[in-house]
Every structure is written in structure tokens, then in C-alpha cells.
């Protein structure tokens, strides 16, 4: 995730610091204990608004949904019936598998496209590197809805690609790129690409160039240097970012709904139907719990990979 850099204290502030440093070191020792207890109170007071917000508007609703997945909506008695119904239904499982495979395809596509882009960016002169990264960050800032919508213009039957193909005489009738899995794949890959490119670029810049020089001195070919030295060094970040892309794909709602035209139901769209059309809250809750467990487990792996690499 791209974030604005932290604010550094200006020259005035650092002068103040230099002048007062000794005083501060001397004074912190004196009434430490009395002030510490007061400080805890003040800290709690400052934390209170956020705590109330997160507990009431996030934690409790999530726990409530989890409770819905294991309780009878009429009597309130605990039951595993909703999970059993869910597992017995081939329709639900088919949608889960389709989402799983499509997410794998999206992840593979972002790796295949994102790795060369990040690698190319590291090879550019610094000025151009900033331009390329700036463009990647820019797409990040454009609404997902807009980026998804644009593919209707590009891939639609009167769109850019079909007109080009027909003009060139490759096809006589427009190809149906949209409202199928291909359209969703293109749209999701486009939206999720920056999530892979930006961390990967940072990892590539961190690779110690001397290692590559050593390999070159020892007579390794460029091909070998890349695959046996460079690539393995970027692999942990590649894996972590790929997991992130996979997690984000699993819960994707907008792009499949728009580019799939309702013909390719995925998990998120199924949850929409369960809530807004069929009012099957308990089944939607079951799907939420399953998706949540999968997401959080993968996120744990992602964090582990990142910390290992840091």
C-alpha cells in the first residue's frame, strides 16, 4: 500500500531538541511513577472514540454474523445445520471452486505481467523510473468502478479491440470478450496489478547489486545470474504479494458483477444475492465465515513472509 511519507520535524524543531535535550533527560526521572499512572488514564481517554467505533461498528457486527451462521434464526438455538446445508449444496460449492480457480488465474496473470513491469522499472534511469512508478500509483487512485467500466468500452462488441480486429480483417464478427470469465480475468488483473508491482519493485531495488557482479565475475551468463541469483532474492516478496492479490480476488465484487454481466456468479455476488434477493441471512453468514477463515489464514502467511523478508 502506498502511503505518504512520514513528516519530519523541521530545522526549528531540531534546534529546540538540541537545546532542551539535557533538561529532558534530567527531568523524566523525577516524578515518573505518579505521572505514569495518570498517563495510562489519559491514554485510555484518547483511545476511547476509536475503541467504541471499532467494537460497536466492526467487531460486534462480525461476531453477530458469525453467530447467525451457527444459530437457528427462529429459536436462537445453536446448530451446525446451516454449514451442513451449505456443504450438501452442489451449487454453492461450484461457485466456491469457480472463485478459487479464477482467483488463481488472476494471481498468475498479475505475476506474469507484473514481474516484467517491475523489473523493467528498476532498469530505467531514475527520472523515468519515477514517471513509470507515478503512472502505476496514479492508476491505483482511479476508482475501481471507472477502471472496470473502461473495459466495456475497450472489449465490448463495438469497442476498441473488436474494431481493430475487424478493420485488420482478422475476424468478420465481433468476438465476445465480455460477460464471461475472460472479461472478469482481464478486469481484475488490471485492477490488482499495482498491488504486486509496487512491493515487488521495492524488493528488486533492495537486491544487493554486488551479488550480481560477483556472479558475473565468476563467469555466469546473464540468464543464469537472473534465474539463480536475482529471482530467488525477490521470491519472498513475489510470494507475499501474490498471496495478497489472491486474497483480494477471493472477495472481489464489483468487477465480476459488471464484466461478468451476472453470468459468472462468484462468491461475493452469491453473498449479494443471498442477502438482497433471497433474504437467506444465515447462509450468507456461513459463506462470510468460510471466506473470513480462508482470508485470515492466508493473511497470516502473507505477514509471516513479509516479516521473514524484512
Amino acid at each position: 500500500m502506498t502511503l505518504p511519507g512520514s513528516y519530519e520535524s523541521g530545522p526549528v524543531a531540531s534546534q529546540t531538541v538540541a537545546a532542551a535535550h539535557d533538561v529532558a533527560a534530567e527531568a523524566t526521572a523525577v516524578p515518573a511513577r505518579r505521572r505514569a499512572s495518570l498517563r495510562q488514564w489519559e491514554l485510555f481517554f484518547l483511545l476511547l472514540p476509536m475503541l467504541l467505533l471499532i467494537v460497536l461498528i466492526f467487531d460486534l457486527p462480525i461476531l453477530n454474523a458469525a453467530y447467525w451462521s451457527i444459530s437457528d434464526p427462529k429459536t436462537g438455538a445453536l446448530t451446525l445445520g446451516h454449514f451442513r446445508d451449505f456443504l450438501d449444496s452442489t451449487a454453492y460449492l461450484r461457485i466456491i471452486w469457480r472463485t478459487f480457480f479464477l482467483s488463481l488465474e488472476v494471481t498468475a496473470a498479475t505475476i506474469l505481467l507484473g514481474y516484467p513491469l517491475a523489473y523493467w522499472a528498476t532498469k530505467l534511469p531514475p527520472r523515468w523510473r519515477i514517471v513509470v512508478l507515478g503512472l502505476v500509483v496514479t492508476t491505483f487512485w482511479v476508482s475501481i468502478l471507472v477502471r472496470t467500466y473502461a473495459w466495456i468500452v475497450i472489449l465490448g462488441s463495438a469497442g476498441l479491440i473488436n474494431r481493430l480486429l475487424m478493420w485488420a480483417g482478422v475476424v468478420s464478427r465481433p468476438i465476445e470478450f465480455l460477460y464471461n470469465e475472460f472479461g472478469i480475468l482481464v478486469g481484475m488483473t488490471n485492477v490488482l496489478l499495482p498491488f504486486l508491482v509496487l512491493p515487488l519493485f521495492a524488493a528488486m531495488m533492495r537486491v544487493d547489486m554486488r551479488l550480481l557482479q560477483v556472479a558475473e565475475t565468476l563467469g555466469a551468463s546473464r540468464f543464469r545470474i537472473f534465474w539463480q541469483v536475482f529471482f530467488p532474492l525477490t521470491l519472498p516478496t513475489l510470494a507475499a504479494s501474490a498471496i495478497l492479490v489472491f486474497i483480494l480476488s477471493l472477495g472481489f465484487y464489483i468487477t465480476p458483477a459488471v464484466l461478468g454481466g451476472g453470468r459468472v456468479p462468484l462468491v461475493a455476488n452469491m453473498m449479494d444475492l443471498l442477502i438482497n434477493r433471497f433474504a437467506r441471512w444465515e447462509t450468507a453468514a456461513v459463506v462470510s465465515v468460510v471466506l473470513m477463515v480462508v482470508t485470515l489464514s492466508l493473511y497470516a502467511v502473507y505477514q509471516w513472509l513479509r516479516e521473514k523478508n524484512a
Binding site: A24, L47, P49, I54
Partner: protein, 267 residues
């Protein structure tokens, strides 16, 4: 040898450029389309006109959606900024048991897929009787934006020299005075960046909005509905304005958080 090297460099450049074009294509295509005079989505447009902008601003529904989106994003990003900044200060400067757990909890809305939050909000808000109300919508958007505020402000506070606060404490200032008179005045560029970030997040939010907004319209919600039903070129005008708006926000964000810093570090 050099010929092979040249070829491999060339192929890398071609691949890199091609992927970059693929990434940028949606943004590049939408803007010209919005000035098209054709009723269908032809690209390149056969002629130029402003008719889709006229139909956009002449439509009460779109104007209402626009006002709603602005009000909603302003309120929710402001609440998120206040709660998130205070929490970020405590997380960065406080030392107490369970700090990491608390931090993970504050980050959770960013990690949990929006669709899960949407379902959870739908069920909970329905039972509380705030489903479909504007207040409920504000709370939903605040929750989605607040982790980013915490993240940005934590980085900012970490970069602020703790000795300045110690000096203030030595001179007898209370925690609240330190925060209000020493820390926050120095961190306003980061706070502005965090607010803009939260604002744009709320302004573009679709998924949770679709579930909990009831009859309230927002720009993304209206746009999503139109995309599902039929493709109307008015949308290209909306999309172009959204791109312009988001890029403007990005520009302001870069200006306040010192030029260029975003690209040099932080990923």
C-alpha cells in the same frame, strides 16, 4: 554476445511498456469517450460534443448523488481522522499490554474483504434499525477509512521527535496539551494527507454502500446500478470527472506531504 544482450534488453522494454499500456488503458480510453457525440460506445469516438456532460448536470438524480457523496465523504473522513489520529498517537507512544492486538483489531477492516463487512453491517444494522439511514452509511464508511488514517498517522508520529514531547512534559504540559499544542500542529500535513485518503476512499466506496444505503444515492452506487442495467454514455462523463477528481486529490496529497515523497519511499 552484444547482439543477444541488445535483443534481451529490447524485449524487456517491449514487455514493460506493453504491461504499462495495459495498466493505463482504462484511464486513457474513458476520457476521450466522454466527449463523444455518438450514442453507442464507439472507440475512437466519431465526433466530439459535450452532450454527456450536459445530460449529467441536467439530471437531478446525478446531482443529488453527487451532493450525497460529498457530504458523506466529508463527515465520515472527518470522524475517521479524529478517532484514527488519537488512536495512532496512543499506539505509537503508549506502552501497554495488548497493544499489538489492539493495533491488529484497528487494521482489521482494511484486511477483511469488503463484502464480509457489508454482510455483517447489513445484518447488524437491520437489527439495530439503522439500515438504510444516512447515519448508518456514515458509520460504515468511517469504519472502512479509519485503518488507513491510523496507518498514515502512526508513520507520521513515529517520525516526530519524541524528545520534543518530553521537553513539553518537563515544562509541565499534560498529555492532552502536548497532543493539541505540540504534536498535532506539527503533523498537519500528514493529517491532511490522511483526511484526503479517507475522503477518496469513502467517495469511491461501492460494496458496503450497496448493502446498507437503502434509498440513499451516491455517485458510485448510481454508476454501478447503471452499469448493470444498460450502458449509457453519460457514465463516461461521470467516470472522467471521477478520474479528474481523484487525480486532483492525489495532487493535493502530494503537495501537502511534500513533493515527491510518495514515490521515493513508503511502499
Amino acid at each position: 554476445m552484444t547482439a543477444r544482450r541488445f535483443l534481451s534488453d529490447l524485449s524487456l522494454t517491449v514487455c514493460g511498456l506493453a504491461v504499462l499500456v495495459f495498466l493505463l488503458l482504462p484511464v486513457l480510453v474513458v476520457a476521450p469517450m466522454s466527449f463523444s457525440d455518438a450514442k453507442s460506445l464507439e472507440f475512437p469516438p466519431p465526433g466530439f460534443s459535450l452532450r454527456w456532460y450536459q445530460s449529467l448536470f441536467g439530471s437531478d438524480i446525478w446531482v443529488e448523488a453527487g451532493i450525497n457523496s460529498l457530504v458523506l465523504a466529508t463527515i465520515s473522513s472527518t470522524i475517521a481522522l479524529v478517532c484514527g489520529t488519537l488512536a495512532a498517537y496512543v499506539l505509537t507512544r503508549g506502552a501497554f499490554r495488548g497493544r499489538r492486538l489492539l493495533e491488529a483489531n484497528f487494521m482489521a477492516p482494511m484486511i477483511v474483504p469488503a463484502i464480509i463487512t457489508a454482510v455483517a453491517h447489513y445484518i447488524a444494522f437491520a437489527r439495530l434499525g439503522i439500515l438504510g439511514t444516512f447515519h448508518g452509511l456514515v458509520l460504515g464508511h468511517t469504519i472502512l477509512a479509519v485503518p488507513y488514517v491510523v496507518l498514515i498517522m502512526q508513520a507520521a508520529i513515529r517520525g516526530f521527535d519524541i524528545r520534543i514531547e518530553q521537553v513539553a512534559a518537563t515544562l509541565g504540559a499534560s498529555r492532552l496539551t502536548i497532543l493539541a499544542r505540540v504534536v498535532l500542529p506539527n503533523l498537519w500535513p500528514s493529517a491532511a494527507a490522511a483526511w484526503i485518503f479517507a475522503f477518496v476512499l469513502s467517495f469511491d466506496e461501492v460494496v458496503v454502500t450497496l448493502f446498507i444505503s437503502g434509498a440513499h444515492l451516491t455517485i458510485p452506487k448510481r454508476m454501478f446500478a447503471e452499469l448493470i442495467i444498460q450502458v449509457n454514455p453519460t457514465i463516461t462523463a461521470v467516470a472522467t470527472l471521477l478520474i479528474a477528481f481523484n487525480l486532483l486529490a492525489l495532487a493535493v496529497l502530494l503537495l501537502v506531504s511534500r513533493r515527491g515523497r510518495l514515490f521515493e519511499r513508503g511502499y
